[in-house]
Amino acid sequence: MAGTRTADIDDGVDLDVNITSGSPHVIAYILWTRRPGDADWTEVARGNTSDNVSDHHIIKAPLPKGSRLTYWLGMGDGPGTKCRGIVTLAQNGKVVPDGLCIEDGKTDSNGVYVVETEVTLQ
């Protein structure tokens, strides 16, 4: 079951979503958005933090209040290790209020931790 949280944004400005690791783990991730009135979720990005591809993803304005962003993180390394994934929501180069999303967890016996969180943009 996905966790939930909120973040305050300016609905007329592009939203920069950045995924980084706060621990020595590889993170595979997926981002989806859903604007008010949308029938379904739209995938906006997927990738991982260990390649040479940027993990900054721009979600173009407008993002009406009440839009939702869901991020899915799969963190992998050794079993039973504490892991941290960081999702940062920024506009105009600054992190928006409540836009620093830290996901702490512990990998299972196979070395994986998966977390999914829905952020309501208000």
Partner: protein, 369 residues
């Protein structure tokens, strides 16, 4: 070699075994903490077992010769402080049996992203630094308590998969491929079962890690550990006296692709009570292994000498042994050895042969690696 010399060396060998037990059951690294089971985990477990001659994961407990059944690992500095306070009772006496282990990252004091972990030796060393604190009943005085603090530093370790940038890239690519549409663990939208997704990804991640570890089973490492302790008369915190310190240095070197030499040196200066005299000891162990998944040859030597004493010290001595072992079947190893290290099995000063056949006792090779 005198019988009691062998006992001392054997006792030190037992200490190595204790170190291993701690590292598997409650130590610091994730690798060591894995509750491995079944054939799939065997190779990784063997890699753990291979580290018999390794500096202790929790040197404070080794210093105290303690094997705590439960080790508290505080997740924040506040929890850490609370755990320390909890070690002292209402009357100001230190409780016995306290076992704490902590790391900077575990306490939330250090954040090291993957790229920095791979590129910075210092950050990697700090990330893997482990502090341990323990208390135990003082020798010969049940009312008094010994308290020890230890630190373990991994100075160099090529057997850490995630420090390998190529491995991390491959792992990331494999995870991305697995969760892509049509992939083994395809994630097509929000609201999926994260537990099932995690389980599925584990079937990708775990074999990759095990394969990497199997390929790097003899990778080099250098680990330093140190511990020191005080004795508290009647367990009173304000009645403390230094009882000694201990330092371990372990290293491993590969010998081509099929062999490895592992060594452990230990210097200790201890006294049973704050008002007694110190005994300074130097102990060492060196093991060479050559083999593979079903067959191993090994040779090892353990030694100990008393520092600053005359040559006829009762505490000196060394013992060597060598041998061979075969994997008879899954989880069944037959091993036999010869040399002084095996002589206790036959209670003889002479060579013991075919003296250590073990059926279904060890699930993995004792001597492998």
């Amino acid at each position: 070699m005198r019988t009691h010399d062998r006992r001392l060396v054997g006792r030190w060998a037992l200490t190595c075994g204790t170190v291993l037990t701690l590292s598997v059951a409650g130590g610091g690294s994730a690798q060591a903490r894995q509750a491995a089971s079944g054939t799939a985990a065997q190779r990784e477990t063997q890699t753990q077992i291979s580290k018999t001659f390794i500096a202790p994961e929790t040197p404070a407990f080794t210093f105290l010769s303690a094997s705590p059944s439960k080790i508290t690992e505080p997740g924040t500095t506040r929890d850490f402080g609370a755990a320390l306070l909890d070690a002292i009772d209402e009357s100001g006496h230190v409780r016995q049996g306290v076992a704490l282990a902590a790391s900077l990252h575990g306490l939330g004091l250090l954040q090291v992203p993957l790229d920095q972990y791979q590129s910075s030796w210092l950050k990697r060393a700090l990330y893997r630094a482990e502090l341990s604190i323990g208390t135990s009943r003082a020798q010969g005085d049940s009312a008094s308590t010994d308290v020890a603090t230890g630190l373990r530093l991994t100075l160099f370790d090529r057997s850490d998969p995630i420090a390998d940038a190529d491995y991390a890239r491959q792992l990331g690519a494999a995870m991305s491929q697995a969760i892509a549409p049509g992939g083994k663990c395809a994630v097509s939208g929000p609201g999926g079962n994260t537990q099932m997704q995690q389980q599925c990804l584990g079937e990708i991640v775990r074999p990759m890690r095990e394969e990497w570890l199997a390929k790097h089973w003899n990778a080099p490492h250098v680990i330093l550990a140190a511990a020191g302790g005080v004795g508290l008369d009647q367990s009173r915190i304000n009645d403390a006296g230094w009882i000694g310190q201990q330092v371990w240095l372990s290293a491993a070197l590969p010998v081509m692709s099929r062999g490895r030499i592992t060594g452990l040196a230990e210097v200790s200066q201890r006294r049973p009570a704050p008002d007694s005299s110190y005994a300074s000891l130097f102990s060492y162990g060196l093991r060479g292994v050559f083999g593979g998944p079903t067959f191993n040859l090994f040779a090892e030597v353990l030694g100990r000498s008393e520092l600053g004493s005359s040559s006829d010290s009762d505490l000196g001595g060394s013992a060597w042994s060598g041998g061979v072992e075969f994997r008879a079947a899954d989880n069944v190893w037959i091993s036999t050895g010869f040399g002084e290290g095996y002589s206790s099995l036959s209670n003889s000063d002479q060579v013991a042969i075919l003296a250590n056949i073990r059926w279904a006792v060890s699930r993995e090779s004792r001597f492998n690696n």
